[in-house]
């Protein structure tokens, strides 16, 4: 099932997850999960609901602590580091629920990300150029903007920081088809900007359209590593692990 042809070399590897085992209490959720992302790559982590995709992202950013295994960024170990420290090293998670600060305005949400950044990333002008709707909503509170705008803001909040690896958790979930296309365009922009991205998606075709490589996770284990083309053509694989 494994397709090694597009694997980045060790020197190019930006993020490496190596045999992590993560638990919720006594429940063993991730079992020896390993994956790697090369600098500038866009990698999709695919799988059905509740198979461990979000847990993988949470384990990378320090939200959950893997009991065993290793997570490295440019060779530097992250397991055991605080969430804040991992964020400051350049790993930015855009969570599934967006987690916009609803008591702050759009401008304040962006300013907070700038204030807490170790190094600056995109300028606000650049952000507004790529997300023009945010400019129109600057004075609106986080709970006064649409779902699509919240997603744009959550991504923009990550990009105003000097992000080395962007983790996008279900960025198109719950959005109208028109807005999904906007978000897909934003992900393409991020890809063309050379930002290393790990994309978690249930929307298979949305993910395959932008990913360089894919992993499929099922019941907490990585079952497949390969190219989007392989996933597209292997009906048995899709039916078995993705139910499509």
């Amino acid at each position: 099932m494994t397709a090694p042809a597009v694997t980045p070399t060790a020197a190019q590897t930006r993020l490496r997850v190596d045999g992590i085992n993560t638990y919720y209490g006594d429940s063993h959720v991730l079992r020896d999960v390993s994956l790697h992302i090369g600098a500038g790559e866009t990698v999709a982590l695919l799988g059905r609901n509740g198979v461990g995709k979000t847990t993988t992202l949470k384990s990378i950013v320090g939200w959950l602590k893997p009991r065993t295994g290793s997570v490295t960024l440019d060779g530097e170990e992250l397991v055991g580091c605080e969430m804040m420290a991992i964020a400051r090293k350049g790993i930015s998670l855009v969570p599934e629920e967006r987690r916009i600060f609803t008591n702050l305005t759009v401008a304040e949400n962006l300013k907070l990300a700038q204030v807490t950044a170790q190094k600056p990333g995109w300028t606000l002008d650049h952000v507004y150029e790529k997300f023009p709707r945010l400019r129109e909503r600057l004075t609106h509170k986080g709970d006064e903007i649409s779902g699509g705008e919240k997603q744009m803001l959550a991504i923009a909040r990550a990009l105003v920081q000097d992000v080395k690896v962007l983790l996008l958790d279900e960025p198109t979930e719950g959005l109208a088809p028109l807005i999904v296309r906007e978000v897909e365009n934003v992900i393409r922009e991020i890809k063309s900007a050379g930002i290393t991205t790990l994309l978690v998606e249930q929307n298979l075709y949305s993910a395959l359209a932008v990913a360089d490589r894919c992993y499929i996770i099922d019941q907490g284990e990585i079952k497949f590593e390969g190219t989007p083309a392989q996933v597209r053509t292997d009906e048995d694989l899709r039916r078995r692990y993705l139910h499509v």
Partner: protein, 289 residues
């Protein structure tokens, strides 16, 4: 009519003390999710530090030493004890902070005795000011003005500084602040120290008005909790509105029928909880952990 004005200004002064304590309580709860029953102890420690410094060095230094001493005490308390209870149930927090308050009260009783004490206000502030039909002690008006300025500075800190931005974000979602690289622990320590310093300063400054004894902390803490509930947990302006409302209500009831003055604030709280459970300016939205 003169008595009514007197009672209203008295209610304003009392209400501002409640506001100052409640603002500390509410920003600490908002940022740390800590139900802090030891907050009244900060007021009492500030009052006693102020008393000692005022008697031996001077009143001016009392206003400097009290907030610093109380802030340092609060940071130590936070680092050594309270931090262990941040993620615990509110009941555990309530019990540990209640225990700390009792320890502080008994320690103050051991050191200073159980008798009521008060230091004299500076001679230059012992005069009175005529306000229309009434004459009112100048120090009380100065105290009220000072508390208003202090609250304005706290508001500016929360609303206009980068630290304040982290604090406000942390009130809603501590996890996301950390995912963005924000140092929520440092912000929490600053908020805890700030809330304690405010209570300590007000304790020192109010001692010439309200005499103190070791139980003073609880005497001010309980109405301040009422203020927080009435105004809305976690809301700065809720604490301001609730404090002024409760202060005036207590003072005016005292004028009309003194025995009811302590009961009326709890009736007010019950009414607010029935009609608007999140408090007058509180939000009903679920706050993320």
């Amino acid at each position: 009519m003169e008595a009514l004005f007197q009672a209203m200004i008295g209610g304003l002064v009392l209400g501002l003390i409640y506001v100052a304590i409640a603002v500390g309580l509410t920003i600490i709860f908002g940022t740390l999710r800590l139900v802090n029953f030891a907050h009244g102890a900060f007021y009492a420690i500030g009052a006693y530090v102020g008393l000692v410094i005022a008697q031996h060095i001077g009143v001016g230094w009392a206003f400097v030493a009290a907030p610093i001493a109380v802030a340092l005490f609060a940071v130590l308390l936070d680092r050594l004890v309270l931090r262990l209870f941040y993620d615990k149930e509110p009941t555990a927090q309530l019990l540990v902070t209640f225990g700390i308050a009792l320890v502080v009260e008994e320690t103050l009783r051991l050191i200073f005795g159980a008798t009521t004490q008060q230091y004299a206000m500076p001679a230059s502030l012992q005069g009175s000011v005529t306000l229309g039909p009434i004459t009112y002690p100048a120090y009380r008006l100065l105290f009220a003005g000072g508390v208003i300025v202090m609250l304005a500075l706290v508001w500016l800190f929360i609303e206009r500084t980068n630290y304040g931005l982290i604090v406000r974000a942390g009130i809603r979602d501590r996890i996301m602040v950390q995912l963005l690289g924000g140092n929520i622990h440092q912000a929490s320590t600053i908020v805890f120290a700030l809330g304690a310093a405010i209570a300590g300063l007000v304790g020192a400054a109010a001692t010439p008005i309200y005499s103190i004894d070791p139980a003073t902390g609880f005497a001010f803490l309980v109405p301040s909790f009422v203020v927080v509930v009435v105004g809305g947990l976690g809301s700065f302006w809720g604490a301001v509105l609730g404090g002024l409302l409760i202060g005036e209500l207590q003072s005016l009831t005292n004028l009309a029928y003194a025995p009811a003055s302590n009961v009326v604030i709890y009736l007010c709280m019950a009414l607010v909880l029935l009609l608007r459970p999140q408090g007058l300016l509180g939000e009903s939205e679920v706050i993320r952990q």
